[in-house]
Symmetry: C2
Subunit: 309 residues, 2 copies
Amino acid sequence: MSLVIRVGPARADWWLAHMRALLPEIECRPWDDPGDLDAVRYAVVWKPPAGGLKRFPNLELIVSIGAGIDHILADPERPADVPIVRTTSGELTQRMREYVLLHVLRLHRDLPAIEAAQKSAEWRQVVTPPAPGRTVGVMGLGNLGADAARALAAVGFAVRGWSRSPKSVAGVETFAGEAGLDAFLAGTDILVCLLPLTDATRGILDARLFAKLPEGASIINAARGEHLVEADLIAALDAGHIRYATLDVFHEEPLPPGHPFWRHPRVYVTPHVASLIDPVAGGEIIAANIRRFIAGEPIPDLVDLSKGY
Amino acid sequence: MSLVIRVGPARADWWLAHMRALLPEIECRPWDDPGDLDAVRYAVVWKPPAGGLKRFPNLELIVSIGAGIDHILADPERPADVPIVRTTSGELTQRMREYVLLHVLRLHRDLPAIEAAQKSAEWRQVVTPPAPGRTVGVMGLGNLGADAARALAAVGFAVRGWSRSPKSVAGVETFAGEAGLDAFLAGTDILVCLLPLTDATRGILDARLFAKLPEGASIINAARGEHLVEADLIAALDAGHIRYATLDVFHEEPLPPGHPFWRHPRVYVTPHVASLIDPVAGGEIIAANIRRFIAGEPIPDLVDLSKGY
């Protein structure tokens, strides 16, 4: 009985040692040197390459190192009957709350204008409306989205939320489905994307959606790079219809040095740090979930594969 | 019976017209052309020059265009028996809450490092502890300070507060007086100054105080420029003991173009915008308070001059 682990190359050795210390009763091996393929029961993975998981005929559980599982579903040869567990923690929610509040407030109070004035040593007061006069629209009302929406409302913003199926969040005006999308967008000054990545949400942040936002709206994407049609965003920024974009996720990560987002004066790039899993705490959560699985106990973060996220 | 109004030159005409529209029953005149000095009963002022208020022998009420009254008390010839009313509103609290949350989060998530990486198109993940691992210390627990402290605690920060006399704020560890200051400072990672300006707090942010903060602490001053000994801050920044400073207020405003704060790589300058009074809403509040005074009704924002702020 063994476990294989696959993470980015920078931290592979560290993670392997970490999981070995946390699960001494299980043989933990690196993805590229799995030993006896028949012995592998558990795969702990981030962005496994296509065809990699089907190497293990007796695989019982796939663990995503992260809250999203799109990076696993992206493998068309994935053994579709093997259950998947996501890794979440209160810390992920905490960090995302911080990121969303920070970047909404940064745009709300127009720090780009404040910073331009400082650069030229110019005393130029920028007066913005108080938060109740600004509407923030949160797309995606899962754990992270609902928490961020509540936190924005507590600060004083007018907050609305959109989700695939109808949801209710205290203090938040909610909209649902294709039928509710246009009305949701029409009143949104700052749009925050926290959607799961599915076939229905891939490319949802496109020219058609931007056109339905009011002139001068801004967007923040802290979900997945594939939600955004990058060329459409650049066109909407350059046309002046979208004022600012704050992006944490990209089609290609790391974002290539020559990518236009790095240099665009109205794009703020953060390097996928909105809600990082702390590897120490995250490893402990993963080990606890694997032990629950072995003991046949319920795992709250088991994915419902019928929903696709 | 007349009213004189004094504001900065940029908006003097606008304010005069605004007050005339709001108080048509009172003759409203500019500070520099007050007409019959004996007729002046009310003075609505921001930073009145020394000796200016004593020109009016029948003055009954001084209204500060702002929550602070230090700019009035700074006049040594002020008629000391004339009551002062400050101008506050829920909007001031709202705006200060936004400013404090934004700038604490900005330092907490180390946006200066994120921005340096973007400038060089470099994908460099900055991992910061989640907010419960960061202690924010708020100096001053009046309306604005207590609200900001509560809002920081709601985001998840460990929050402590310091005030002259003991106060209690839900979710905030409080310290008081000279006796509590050292312990308050010793555990503070990000210090937020929202103190009133009095003889006891003038220059409180000095080398002695900075030395009591932990190595690498940051400070935010959104109270008054005179709280800060500017040369001491620059020395503490250059020594590396203080990491970042975010300053909204200055000894001289507008901050002169040659001032070193404008160009210091670890000083973030905002041009006294933390909590601006909206002139429309603020004018309405001032007019309502003057009407209350004339009618002999209680005015909640009447200053208790025995406390000096």
